[in-house]
């Protein structure tokens, strides 16, 4: 089966925000991947939360990241109730320019067999419900060849 990986149907994907997480989603609307970095000790954290878990500071610098990521681990979800044809590459990614922080996302438009631990990725954004955008990832192009 050569079905390319996708996301859940985007129009059905909902998110909610609070004061700690809203800047992440507002940046995504502008196609920017950001992460909160403690303004006092420099520790990155995701998901965004009210305190730095290292020094308990509430001062945050929102850092715009390069969008590069690598697959830390993953699962290939083959069909969901009511959506038997869906193939998802659900990934936990490391973010090289936000060390210690991870995101849970999807690799899209890939052959499921092309996703491995260590695979380099780049961010993209998908429109979801209520005007928000969701960061997703694509297999990074390597040395002039199209990835994925």
């Amino acid at each position: 089966m050569s079905t390319l990986t996708a996301t859940l149907p985007p129009a059905g994907i909902q998110i909610t925000t609070d004061s700690a997480t809203e800047p992440f989603w507002l940046a995504a609307k502008e196609n920017r991947l950001v992460a909160p970095k403690c303004a006092d000790c420099g520790t990155f954290r995701l998901p965004p939360s009210p305190f730095c878990p290292n020094c308990q500071s509430q001062n945050v610098d929102w850092v715009t990241l390069s969008g590069r990521a690598t697959v830390y681990s993953f699962s290939i979800v083959q069909g969901l109730p009511g959506q038997p044809e869906l193939t998802l590459a659900a990934v936990v990614v490391d973010l090289p320019d936000a060390p210690g922080a991870r995101l849970v996302s999807n690799v899209v438009d890939a052959d499921p067999g092309a996703v491995e631990i260590g695979t380099p990725l780049t961010v993209d954004f998908v429109e979801i419900a209520d005007g928000w955008k969701l960061p997703v990832f694509r297999v990074a192009a390597v040395a002039g060849a199209a990835g994925g």
């Binding site: 996301t7 998110i15 995701l46 998901p47 083959q78 969901l80 998802l88 659900a90 995101l103 996302s105």
Partner: protein, 398 residues
Amino acid sequence: MSASGPFDTAIVGVGATPYYRRGGSAPQTITELAGKAIIAACEDAGLSVKDIDGFAYYSGAGAGYGQSMDTATFMETLGIPEVTFSAALTSGGGGSAGSIGLARAAILAGDATAVVTVMALQQVKQRLGTVFGAVAPSPENSFLQPSGLVGPGHLMSVLARRHMHNYGTRREAFAEIALSSRENALTRPKAIMRTPLTLDDYFNARMIADPLCLFDFCLETEGAVAVITTSAQRAKDLRREPVGVVAAAHGGVREWGRAFAWYGMPDEYFASSGHAPIARRLYDRAGITPDDIDVALIYDHFTPMVLMQLEDYGFCKKGEGGPFVESGAIRYKGGSIPVNTHGGQLSEAYIIGMTHIVEGVEQIRGTAVNQVPDAKLALVTGGPAALPVSGLILGRMA
């Protein structure tokens, strides 16, 4: 082995409803199922339901996901005159074994004398298998839910993948856990799955969240189980031979934290069960080592998490869980540490960890269907899940 009785508290009664496939317990309600289990546990103990004066729940007194249990409702419907303790461990199924520690704490504090722990589960309104895809997204799980990891098994498949990557663990190891559990269920009258499972069946099964297939997932069943804990002193006068609470512990370390509800664990914790700190405390308190455990009732919602618990509880070294189970070590017949002699949640029934406590009690009483000869110490675990996870060691009173 230094863990010998007398102990301060004991399990004196266990009771359960029949186990049902999803939807099969209707038209009974959660309160009715739980009430039947409580009455059965009291009868087993030789206590009146009116003797119950404490409730020690886990999973926030939730009945599965989306329903709940309530002490006042039980008092009203069962005719319990007065309750002097009513509390629950937080989070989910990780607290199952630890809820007996909560009961023990109430008894040792003098807050209650006969404490019931109960879980009842129905899955018609919301099946557990896709529970995380069904709840409204909070700001926190807006960072998880859109990925399509809709249930606990989908989430734990990502941990299993990392274990395979780090240590070379094979699907054959996960298969062995499923096959061994099934073999144990074949002789169990109450077990839901009583037909043999072969390696071919396993490898031909539908992949749900690769690397996990259908048989790596536990059953989606219904029913209720209740357990009565009292002081060791009172236990002496009751109907059944008391089963001593040798040690109980719940909690965990920040590195495990919300676990697969976020995936922030450092690498040394990611491909683990989060149980290593619980294991250390249990063994310290009991004054024993893994070699002293005669039978292990390991919370088995998903096969790889059994393997990772075997590592965290020290039955084998970290990373060697695959070859360990593939050697036949966990088999009831011929294994060095029989695991889930009741068939577990994979093949008997899933009541969020309670069936493991019942099997631990029956093994120590010497009345188990698949009895481990002369079993003196039984390990029971709850979780892996978001903290707390928990463990319990049961033993003979003398």
